[in-house]
Amino acid sequence: MKEKRDEELMKLVNKKDRRALEELYDRYIKLIYSFVFKFTNGNAETTKEIVQLVFLKLWTTKSSYHSSKGKFVNWLLTVTRNVCVDYIRKDSIHTQNNQQMNPHLPVEIADPVDEIEKKLTFNEVAAAKSKLSTSQKRLIDLLYWKGFSLTEIAKMENEPVGTVKSRLHQSLKQLKKHLEVEDL
């Protein structure tokens, strides 16, 4: 299992190979856990429930990963984020518990994730994001990390959806630009 590529592992998971799912867990749990932890505002109990649902999703999904779909880690986190958003929207809006805080830990993730993201580091994205305007950052946080839709954000900000869309367009473009500058 250890020498299998992610794509092969996911194919085995589709065929209900338990050891493949466990190997996937070992490779990516740190990333998935940290992602969900941020999404739930640091609620450890909810994080556990969502992580369980993420792996159930991987185990039962009919869709498989192909390298033509882009990087595996992006595919995996899209699945993860969708489970997060579904979970949060299930019975009401945002039933997140804000009581628990996440302690600030050093930001570096061990193998094998840094092999995949050779260029970008966590600090670089945080730095690039900090260069955006307040309203751009707020939009990204509400959309990406809080799971609100573009239409809902437009209502909250009392703006037309078109304005929110073009702000998102600008925000992502600038983010990309800042990331490229830092790569040099």
Partner: protein
């Protein structure tokens, strides 16, 4: 830019229904402008996850996750295989007279037909872009300002929005230019009604001093003011620190 191009951002945020999603995927193959933008946008979108902090994964989690997955999957399969039509018919005819059995079969067919048309109805609702998500309405918006305008934090401020979705109500607080926190300090949001305070949760702003908090409001909860204080740690049940931001 054609009309279809306007769906680019909704496509990236994964907010199109299946029908429009397929349409846009086709559009992407023909529109070079969108294809170019799409590549830039998705790159940036996929880099957003890197804005996380590494967490320590509990040792016990692996067993809990694997148990959950395999038990849920087993349950699901049992449920599916338990409804074996042939077995069901033979049991039915053993237990009832032929006429009663025929009646039960007829009822069963009707039930299946009804639930099928119901399913179709729901699919149509989904296709038309409504999804089965209850729409969110903005009930009210409060503006937030620095509590002490003299301290050079005149830019500090933000807004609080109360949202209603079906039966559920929630509060979204957004503040910018908050003073930097030290050590274990956190910002804490309080809801005020007739001088009584209710804790609505804590948050930490990012490096630029911007912070967002979402809080689920109990149905009967009323308040007319919001205050945000800086607290020495996350365990305050009453404000111990200074008020930094408040609604006017």
């Amino acid at each position: 830019m054609g009309r279809e191009c306007e769906n680019l951002l909704s496509f990236i945020a994964d907010e199109l229904n299946d029908n429009n999603k397929r349409k846009f995927e086709k559009h992407l193959q023909h529109c070079t402008e969108c294809a170019k933008e799409y590549e830039i946008m998705t790159d940036a979108w996929h880099s957003l996850y890197l804005d996380i902090e590494e967490q320590k994964v509990p040792e016990s989690l692996k067993a809990e996750v694997m148990d959950f997955v395999f038990i849920e999957d087993e349950k699901d399969r049992k449920l599916k295989s338990s409804f074996n039509i042939n077995e069901w018919f033979s049991q039915l005819y053993r237990q009832f007279s032929p006429i009663a059995a025929a009646l039960i079969v007829a009822l069963m067919v009707l039930t299946i037909a009804l639930s099928f048309s119901n399913m179709q109805l729901r699919n149509e609702v989904k296709e038309s872009g409504q999804e089965n998500i209850v729409p969110i309405e903005v009930l009210s918006t409060l503006s937030l300002q620095a509590a002490d305008q003299t301290e050079g934090n005149i830019n500090t401020g933000g807004s609080a929005v109360i949202l209603q979705q079906g039966e559920a109500k929630s509060l979204v607080v957004q503040v910018r230019d908050l003073p930097r926190l030290e050590g274990s300090e956190v910002y804490q949001v309080w809801l005020l009604k007739n001088g009584k305070r209710k804790n609505a949760g804590i948050f930490k702003p990012d490096e630029s001093g911007a912070g967002i908090l979402t809080y689920e409001l109990a149905q009967n909860l009323q308040f007319d003011q919001i205050g945000i204080t800086v607290e020495p740690d996350q365990y305050s049940t009453e404000p111990r620190g200074k008020k930094i931001v408040g609604s006017s």
